[in-house]
Symmetry: C2
Subunit: 249 residues, 2 copies
């Protein structure tokens, strides 16, 4: 079968491309993408994040990026975070971060392709692709056109979320993208006053789901108000966690 | 300007069409759609829900609907919940609820149009349209093709969510859809043991945001494990709340 995968441009030497997907919005894909990138960066790898959530881009805000991308010959240059992670996102190109991108499928898909073909990422060990919710144009184009080595799937405890996440897992399998691991996010909440652990969104089902889908469980993350706050302040790199610190993908 | 709005088919007499949108996934659009429909039904209105989240449909699971839609002449018949709310969703038409719908924009948009032109809703006072996250094909088609009377916007306290929700607000305004009200969901969590109220996702900003956008604040809803559990069990209609009980839209 003729590979639809787009080749790397002349400026890039990207060793691995990892997708982060959930199917269901709001489970924490962008947060997991950020923490995974930070964990790999701390281990000494060169890391980039391609924010493919064109209509709901959160990455620049989480890292507090306000600079506009520069140019290098015919390419865009990614913007670099304080710890050295390279980022490209539509929100870096818009006049205001809350301007809507009202595009139909083919244009959205085209933008994702351009983030691969027209960006000078340089030498990168891991390029993490933060995918939007759903199983429409953008996830389909990313799986068909980007040379994804594998997919990390993010879920939360609700059965409702897991139903939709299983759609994403089935899609990855149908398109031949290996499933590298699963993260269960917002698994429980620890009361700051009395220390009680409450399963706000229901009992943790991460291990059970990973087992039934035959995927490695990478992390189980609690609901942590400190994470939400640092993301809102553009300081996610200050979040203290040992999640993803020993990950080998 | 030539109206692109699709006329009602011969079987339908739908008085009001209300969209529920957020832009950001996971803030609780489908839950608010369900609670709003239940509140209007309790006030004696005839209510329907058009689940336009084609790749992430949650409505049938929340109401525990497993029946397949029947036919009436050349139309599909919506499935009715235990309290009498009429529902149409792609998940009612799939063999398995976790099968992915891997469609590109034009097909997704076409499905939403068909839920309007090819479904015999009958006499309905309020048809609530649950929109998917993002500002792509489906929200755009819904705003251009369905005769939406207005939009209810759902947000959560995080500034990150609000940034993306403002994209949806700007899109509605650009397309001339009136904003009927805003709901802030997951606003705080009350510890079941010691009763402390924790702003898990940051301080409530619902009132401030509604004021700055010039929209009525309809409800502020807490994180309630009972809601998540009932939604997972298909029993959302058993959720006790006086939210949306006095709403007039
Ligand atoms: N474990 C967590 N604890 C607290 N807040 C979280 C957690 N994970 C995500 N969040 C917050 O929830 C919101 C949604 O997360 P995000 O990563 O944007 O989800 P997605 O990309 O799946 O839509 C963000 O504001 C984020 O800061
Ligand atoms: N106020 C709440 N308290 C507890 N759980 C909630 C609340 N609102 C939503 N949920 C749960 O969170 C998940 C996401 O909600 P959903 O309505 O599907 O969001 P969206 O439609 O915006 O993606 C669901 O499992 C739902 O049951
Ligand atoms: Zn407590």
């Amino acid at each position: 079968e003729q590979s639809l995968k787009l080749p790397q441009n002349e400026y890039n030497e990207i060793k691995h491309v990892i997708g982060v997907m959930s199917g269901k919005g709001g489970v924490g894909k962008s947060s997991v993408t950020s923490l995974l990138a930070m964990g790999l960066q701390k281990q000494g790898f060169k890391v980039g994040i391609l924010d493919a959530d064109i209509t709901g881009p959160s990455i620049p805000k989480m890292f507090g990026l306000h600079e506009r991308p520069g140019n290098y010959n015919d390419c865009l240059l990614p913007v670099t975070t304080s710890s050295g992670i390279k980022v490209m996102s539509i929100n870096l190109l818009l006049p205001n971060e809350d301007d809507p991108v009202i595009w139909r499928g083919p244009i959205l898909a085209g933008a994702v392709k351009q983030f691969w073909t027209d960006v000078a990422w340089g030498r990168v060990d891991y390029l993490i692709v933060d995918l939007p919710p759903g199983t429409g144009d953008v996830p389909l184009t990313a799986m068909q056109s980007l040379p994804l080595d594998g997919m990390v799937v993010v879920t939360s405890p609700q059965q409702l979320a897991q139903m939709v996440v299983r759609k994403a897992i089935k899609m990855s399998s149908q398109l031949g993208i290996p499933l590298l691991g699963m993260v269960e996010n917002m698994s429980y909440f620890k009361c700051p006053d009395c220390g009680k652990e409450v399963s706000v969104f229901g009992p943790s089902r991460g291990e059970q789901m990973a087992l039934s889908e035959g995927i490695r469980l990478l992390e189980i993350l609690p609901i942590d108000p400190a994470l939400a706050e640092l993301c809102d302040q553009g300081r996610v790199e200050e979040y203290q966690t040992d999640a993803f610190s020993k990950e080998s993908l």
